[in-house]
């Protein structure tokens, strides 16, 4: 469905050293470097192998339940009184979020590489659940690193992972959230190099991860193109997705990068506000190097990483995928932000008007649509990526809204 990638295409990145402009790269310890080169080679071979692609396609259909619907959110459209709003229903995927698209690709790759032990980091637990699920399906050992703070606030997902046979390791170091879980996963990988595959959950980390995870998630945008063409006979006018590390957003955006008429909005978590505790790396950070890549980071003047804050555990990360940093710098995408309070308004609206309980991550995208849609004409076609379902968040929301 996509037009071929032109030489000057915005979809051609990264370069052979893993850079999107100045962002990306391979900032890892020497112990990991040979592993990352192996992974890059294995992924390159798999991508061109019809049997790998066929297995992925079959599992996408029969196990994950793709394609996910593109749904016309009629009552929200009426209520906001502007743009015609569609939801890309990633929350209907098996395991309840977009995360599984990427995990499937990586687990099939791990199998090809003969790796029997899978490690992952998780924030909200959605990536951990998806990894535990595919590991159960393929009989692989699964260890999930999760910040001790997140273990507390996302208990249902911890239990789900354990039921699926994964070992959940609460991470006590640093700020005990997603960034520390990623540190600990890297420490595991550097220790267990021979048999271990590190299944990263977002479009960040050393090359080839940002590219590979984006490729796996791009199914979201490819389907959206086809579905919108079928429904409306043309491409959407705007795309909105929440951005933590940014995998659901990159998956939706990437197939549209060369369609310059399509407006692209990435929604960062502004937490308590951009002058207070937040997780908006682009709005409130600057370029630095962490977790294998150069990208926008929240840090102090000494280059020490600062703790992020968001009501949504999945957005609570002080960095962002390097391709997003590049899209921001070249102004192809706009990065905006939504506070905890605003996200709760998005959450409520989605529940009450559409009968869909969204993840707090996705509620950030909905909340931005509440601002943008009324300013757009009625023939403006807007797609919100409903990246995950909100069952995991109902206790957090109840605590804030006093519902229990």
């Amino acid at each position: 469905m996509n037009s071929p990638v032109r030489p000057n295409s915005l979809r051609a990145g990264p370069d052979e050293t893993g850079h999107f402009g100045m962002f990306g790269g391979r900032f890892v310890a020497e112990t990991l470097m040979p592993l990352i080169l192996d992974l890059e080679k294995a992924y390159g071979e798999a991508k061109d192998d019809p049997s790998y692609q066929a297995e992925m396609a079959s599992m996408m259909t029969h196990y994950i339940g793709r394609p996910s619907p593109l749904y016309f959110a009629e009552r929200m459209t009426d209520k906001l009184g502007g743009a015609k709003i569609y939801f890309k229903r990633e929350e209907l995927n098996h395991t309840g979020a977009h995360k599984v698209n990427n995990v499937l690709g990586q687990i099939l790759l791990a199998r090809r590489m003969g790796k029997k032990r899978i490690i992952a980091e998780t924030g909200a637990g959605q990536h951990g659940v998806a990894t535990a699920t595919l590991c159960a399906r393929y009989g692989l050992e699964c260890i999930v690193y999760m910040g001790a703070v997140d273990v507390e606030r996302q208990k249902p997902n911890v239990f789900r992972m354990q039921l699926l046979g994964a070992k959940v390791v609460p991470v006590q170091s640093g700020s005990k959230t997603l960034k520390d879980a990623m540190n600990e996963a890297l420490r595991d990988w550097v220790t267990n190099v021979a048999d271990t595959f590190y299944c990263i959950g977002t479009v960040a980390g050393p090359h080839p991860y940002p590219m590979m995870v984006r490729d796996f998630q791009s199914v979201i945008g490819k389907e959206t193109r086809e579905q919108m063409l079928a429904a409306e006979g043309r491409l959407p006018d705007s795309l909105i997705a929440a951005v933590g590390g940014g995998s659901n957003a990159m998956g939706l955006f990437h197939p549209f990068l060369d369609d310059s008429d399509v407006e692209i909005y990435g929604v960062e978590a502004a937490g308590h506000g951009l002058t207070s505790l937040h997780a908006a790396s682009i709005a409130g950070g600057r370029p630095g190097v962490l977790h294998g890549n150069r990208t926008y980071l929240l840090m102090n003047e000494d280059g020490q990483i600062q703790d992020a804050h968001s009501i949504s555990a999945g957005l609570d990360y002080p960095g962002i995928g390097p391709e997003h940093s590049w899209l921001h710098d070249i102004k192809r995408a706009q990065y905006v932000s939504i506070t905890d309070e605003e996200s709760l308004e998005g959450f409520k609206l989605c529940c009450e008007l559409e009968g869909i309980v969204p993840a707090l991550e996705s509620a950030h995208a909905v909340a931005y649509a509440m601002k943008l849609a009324p300013r757009k004409a009625k023939d403006h076609l807007m797609v919100i990526n409903l990246s995950g379902r909100g069952d995991k968040d109902i206790f957090t929301v109840a605590e804030h809204l006093g519902g229990m």
């Binding site: 890892v28 310890a29 020497e30 990991l32 470097m33 190097v289 962490l290 150069r294 000494d302 280059g303």
Partner: protein, 288 residues
Amino acid sequence: MMKQVPDISMTDRISAAFARARAERRAALVTYVMAGDPDQETGRAILAALPEAGADVVELGMAFTDPMADGPSIQAAGLRALAAGQSLKKTLADVAAFRRTNDRTAIVLMGYFNPIYVYGVDRFLADAKAAGVDGLIVVDLPPEEDEELCLPALRAGIAFIRLATPTTDDRRLPTVLKNTAGFVYYVSITGITGAATPNFDATAAAVARIKKHTALPVVVGFGVKNAVHAAAVARGADGVAVGTALVEALRASLDADGKATEKTVPAVAGLVRELAEGVRSAAKADVA
């Protein structure tokens, strides 16, 4: 305000350290401490005590919030230093203070790239050179990222010391060694600092393998915990690096609030003395 360092170029202090050890038919002792741990004043006192206690080369840790290749001990040391207000600027000032009384002992800064990147690479190299830094070990800069800091450092006259690991095979070694200077740091285990104890026979074999590719001294580190380990490693390498054990000795000397006590400096210096004896006990009678 920084003292002008006389005559010898930066990397010469590193080669001189190994030459002196070689003349004594022993391996050099490379000691790691975290700058500013548990506070800047105590950190400086520890630094000043290291050469006399037997350290040939001093590795000084640059604190970072997210040290991906370090175990719990060095993670905690970095957080103690940061909590006490340590910064990269202060670490460079610590080196300059050390150099006011010592222009002989080589100092190698060890840490992660982000604080250096944010400080500004050119400004950092100029300030580091002025302070009297001889070398850098930056864990998250593999040869694939040499243009970031390694090549500018070499141009500035500061050695860029590379880590070689058990995953660095013969095919990759030339890539790793290409722009390295000062010495090669062989990480004896796959893992983080302070984790497993290495297999000393395998380590000696790995050092021999690396020496086929380079004339630089090879230092072995990660997992060397005491004088007995140091002696075992010293038999098969040009240098022995010890970090976590020193950081742990420091930690054990702190009071209940994590503050330095009168035992803190002697605790670190005392262990360095034991390690230096270990290295000397393994003096090679039959070195060619």
